[in-house]
């Protein structure tokens, strides 16, 4: 039987209350949202805290998907299921629905949240790759209500490590809205609901038939889920073509750093990084054109 080590349970009633609790309880406290990453870590005793602060009551405050003219804003406590079922989000960024369909299973998706996924910062986690591909920024609120906005690259400090400091909470993810966007996600997994062997997300912005910008985010191919600037540089200003996608796939394969493990060999994962980068770019361009 797996049980977490003892801790004290607190429940926050607002974002500001959560921050004041973290200030009072210090670095031995941790926020818990859906809990589907944190509780398994605590059961395995890979993580242990003196205090857990339950923020599920903040869903009214932090569970939303709002489309604006320049950006789409998603509250950090928005659950996977809400992301999957949002017509607004799917219309703007179909990459989200692509990814959500293959994240864990429908029951887990009832609980897990966007903010929890990003804050877990697992190198195999899918939404970090999605947000990286879309050039998302993260809004972090701290003591006194002070907010700072960081890019995904700044947010993701390393495996299981983010820019969210003691006494701070990720409150919102902002996705820039630009015309001519198409996006797509693909994941190869061993069985339904598993972590990725490798995943790739791509977003492309077309100006006429020329790629004005493109971004690729990979998951499960190394310690850090970050974009690959070299892919973006190779695609910008070009006309989409199979040979261009091949070139991007080759860059992705040599830019990642996968390890051989039970999910596959490093060579196989590089092959997937190449293939999935091509497939997602191809589909993103199709969607941008339609």
């Amino acid at each position: 039987m797996q049980v977490p080590a003892p801790f004290e349970y607190e429940r926050a009633t607002s974002v500001d209350h959560a921050i004041s609790l973290m200030e009072r309880l210090g670095s031995t406290s941790r926020l818990i949202a859906g809990g589907h990453s944190l509780l398994p870590m605590m059961k395995l005793r890979l993580a242990s805290f003196d205090y857990l602060i339950d923020i599920n009551d903040l869903h009214d405050e932090l569970g939303y998907i709002e489309a604006g003219p320049d950006e789409l804003r998603i509250g950090a406590l928005t659950r996977h299921r809400e992301l999957l079922e949002s017509a607004t989000l799917t219309a703007a960024f179909p990459i989200f629905a692509d990814a959500e369909r293959v994240i864990a299973d429908p029951i887990v998706r009832n609980r897990g949240t966007l903010g929890g996924s990003l804050c877990q910062a697992d190198p195999s986690e899918d939404l970090s790759a999605v947000c990286t591909a879309l050039g998302a920024s993260c809004v972090i609120r701290g003591p006194g209500g002070a907010e700072r906005v960081v890019s995904m690259e700044e947010f993701h400090v390393g495996p299981y490590e983010t820019a969210v400091g003691d006494g701070e909470i990720l409150v919102e993810v902002r996705l820039p809205v630009r015309p001519g966007c198409g996006s797509a996600y693909e994941k190869v997994e061993r069985r339904a609901g598993d972590w990725a062997v490798v995943s790739a997300g791509a977003a492309v912005w077309l100006d006429g038939d020329v790629i004005s910008d493109a971004r690729v985010g990979l998951a499960a191919v190394g310690p850090n889920t970050t974009g690959i600037p070299e892919v973006s540089a190779a695609l910008r200003g070009q006309t989409p073509s199979e040979s261009l996608f091949e070139q991007a796939g080759a860059i992705a394969a040599r830019s990642c750093d996968p390890a051989t493990d039970q999910r596959g060999s490093a060579d196989y994962k590089r092959h997937l990084a190449d293939e999935l980068t091509r497939r997602t770019l191809r589909r993103a361009v199709e969607r941008a054109r339609s």
Partner: protein
């Protein structure tokens, strides 16, 4: 710490440890052993219960997190002596073999039918994709859920005394819609 929640329409208050998982609260504190504990790792789904009407894996929810909320377990599926159509379907279509996965399967099936009264086989399979039947009896589980869907539709039609053809919604004894090609 003290926690108060509503389990199968009954309010319960207990003194618990913060780290107590909901599945253990239900089984060991309340004695509701219909909810099973399987993998401990939110993979197998036999511990599925409803939290405010949505299926959750109770091995990955703290009992404290359910405080102030509504929990429903397999014990709360029947209405008195009348089994839920999902339970009847599992009986009619042999939806259980060893029975270990059954409580979670039925809670997920009931929640699915509440949202989608006429799910396709693919939709049923997607809904239970986070649950494992160690007897591998998925075909009969899917048939059981279809049986419940058709049975409920027929019952609703009978209540409203619609003039629909009596054949509509009929199923064969394997729980498949009448006339379906398998």
């Amino acid at each position: 710490m003290q926690v108060t929640m509503t389990v199968n329409d009954v309010e319960v208050t207990r003194e618990i440890e913060g780290r107590l998982l909901l599945v253990h609260f239900l089984r060991d504190v309340l004695g509701l052993t219909g909810t099973h504990s399987g993998c401990d790792t939110s993979n197998c789904g036999t511990c599925v219960v409803w939290l405010d009407g949505e299926p959750v894996k109770s091995c990955t929810v703290l009992a404290a997190m359910a405080g102030g909320h509504q929990v429903r377990t397999v014990e709360g599926l029947a209405k008195g002596a009348e089994l839920d159509p999902v339970q009847q379907g599992f009986m009619q279509c042999h939806g259980l073999q060893c029975g270990f996965c059954t409580p979670g399967m039925m809670m997920t099936a009931r929640a699915l039918l509440n949202r989608n009264p006429d799910p396709t086989e693919a939709e049923i399979r997607e809904a239970i994709s986070g649950q494992i039947c160690r007897c591998t009896g998925y075909a009969t589980i899917v048939r059981s859920v279809r049986w419940a869907a058709v049975h409920e539709a027929n019952a609703a039609a009978a209540v409203t005394e619609t003039t629909e053809s009596p054949e509509a919604g009929e199923i064969d004894n394997a729980g498949r819609p009448a006339g379906s090609v398998v």
